[in-house]
Point group: C2
Chain length 338, copies 2
Amino acid sequence: MKQKITLKDIARELGVSISTVSKALKNSEEISRDTKERIQAFAKLYNYRPNNIAISLKNKRSRNIGVIIPNIVHHFFTTCVRGVELYANAKGYNVIVCLSDESFDKEVINMEMLANGSIDGFIMSLSMETMMKDDYNHLKEVTDQGIPLVLFDRTTDEVVCDKVVIGDREAAYMAVKKLIDSGRKRIGVITSDDYLIMVHDRMEGYKEALTEAGISIDENLILPMSQMQFDEEAVNAFLETQKVDAIVTVNEIFAVRAMKMAQRKGYKVPEDIAFIGFTDGLLSKYANPSLTSVDQHGELMGEHAARMLINKIESEQEEETYTTEILKATLIERESTP
Amino acid sequence: MKQKITLKDIARELGVSISTVSKALKNSEEISRDTKERIQAFAKLYNYRPNNIAISLKNKRSRNIGVIIPNIVHHFFTTCVRGVELYANAKGYNVIVCLSDESFDKEVINMEMLANGSIDGFIMSLSMETMMKDDYNHLKEVTDQGIPLVLFDRTTDEVVCDKVVIGDREAAYMAVKKLIDSGRKRIGVITSDDYLIMVHDRMEGYKEALTEAGISIDENLILPMSQMQFDEEAVNAFLETQKVDAIVTVNEIFAVRAMKMAQRKGYKVPEDIAFIGFTDGLLSKYANPSLTSVDQHGELMGEHAARMLINKIESEQEEETYTTEILKATLIERESTP
DNA sequence: TTGTAGGCGTTATCAA
DNA sequence: TTGATAACGCCTACAA
């Protein structure tokens, strides 16, 4: 087993000082051609690599960025992480991924774990529990310390920092408008009772599109699921009692499951009922019929978040300007709409 | 902005030495109750937290583990990462996730980036390109340096280290046997032409089950996709020319897509053709009909890998024993099989 | 051209 | 009971 070699080792072996070695390996002009060559050859032979940790300590920069997401087994977050990774790696940063598992405590623990030098900045999406508690002190502490933070998707106005979100209201509006334009009148929505802004925004967009088309809001057509859990019975009752001709949902799982139930009841999709989901993942793509869905561009979102963060990290001056980027969602039309 | 406070700062403010502060904060018996209380109160007030990087440098341990996977937008790998995270976090480790994107070069770069002190050990699954090139020098270098490595799922015999894999042969055998037991005779398989051991193993299991049941292997029933890309035309031709009564596939996407095509052709699932996929993800669960699938227990796999790695990291002695854990896959029966 | 010394933040050993 | 010192690996201003 060949142990890692350090500057000190090289210096000892070659009978020179550590700083000579350090300079030689940086190809410094100060060092004679001769010594440089000797040292570089030796370093190469023994495969010398500077120790990241020592450099981090010296520079007070780790070149790591911390990403905290509520859940990784989730297509949208997964694409975001991918976007962050690709951009960050290209810029020479590593990505430390932590999962809050939708728990406030885990979120706090993860942040504390990383905030002590391990990372140069955070990219995160809030856990459900955090949003319910409406407690953002852990975030404020981090920003107070001057650690850059970028919130994405699940954000809050309580914390002053850079943000990247999708235009949820517009996206929902767009989806519903498309249904109206194709003649649908009784448009149901399967939503959630969560304290998520995005859910709220999507509902706004839904209502706006209806109102604009002169269709009055029928509260019976709004079916909230509690805790993001799909409730088969409720949906069953909903399908039986409300004669809907279209359904939009706040995620793709709800759409695919509701669609399957409707099909089993003998409805034809999209002829009898059209469906539009949110979050364009594998499910939408491969459902039968394939699902028209709102693409939230997770990868792009991750990339933007990473770009904003790294800009902040690398900008010398303490700018106190924070921006919120609003990305535009796109409707991917497939077989579940006419 | 309140900057991070260090031992030195506390020492200066309270007029004591750095080592006194250090000891006091560790509640050392050496320090008088009085000074300890003063120091601890001050530290608490200013929210002192030791700097991880300095501790890493001192201890030559980072408490980070590096995970390198080919792709994160993939249900199986995602569940593995989750398993690693949960176990590692519980043990006080952070997880640095890097994506090789199925590229040999990226895999090498990522490993080099992390291998210089950033992490205490690696958990990884090989990229396709690495397996094709059959070049594992980057892995060998890492193990030569004494950095613990655990390979999972996509492994190789070329590298001596701990491994965690699923019993692919048995899993495929089990799936095919189930089809045979329910009376199916012409069992097709949609596979891949990749250099992945798992694909090879699954084909072995397929053949074994048939042979055992006295059914001869019909090469026409074996349809390889190149580069893991689903080829609609090929599957179309396959469905038309081969009168299969069941199809097993090496992943869930192939199964769901083939199933959809079969349904469009008027076949009833599972009555006319039964389907079994590999990798039990959302697609299998929510397909219509839902798909019987082989669960590879990604989360458990990740957890095992993390456990093996952390054991190695924390074991004092240089044991030179490496084990390969073979996890048992399970068949999740749903609507796509009788 | 090369080397010395101090520092990044922490801990451990030993001296006072 | 407290403090000085060295060390982890690297960098750099300054001295030789």
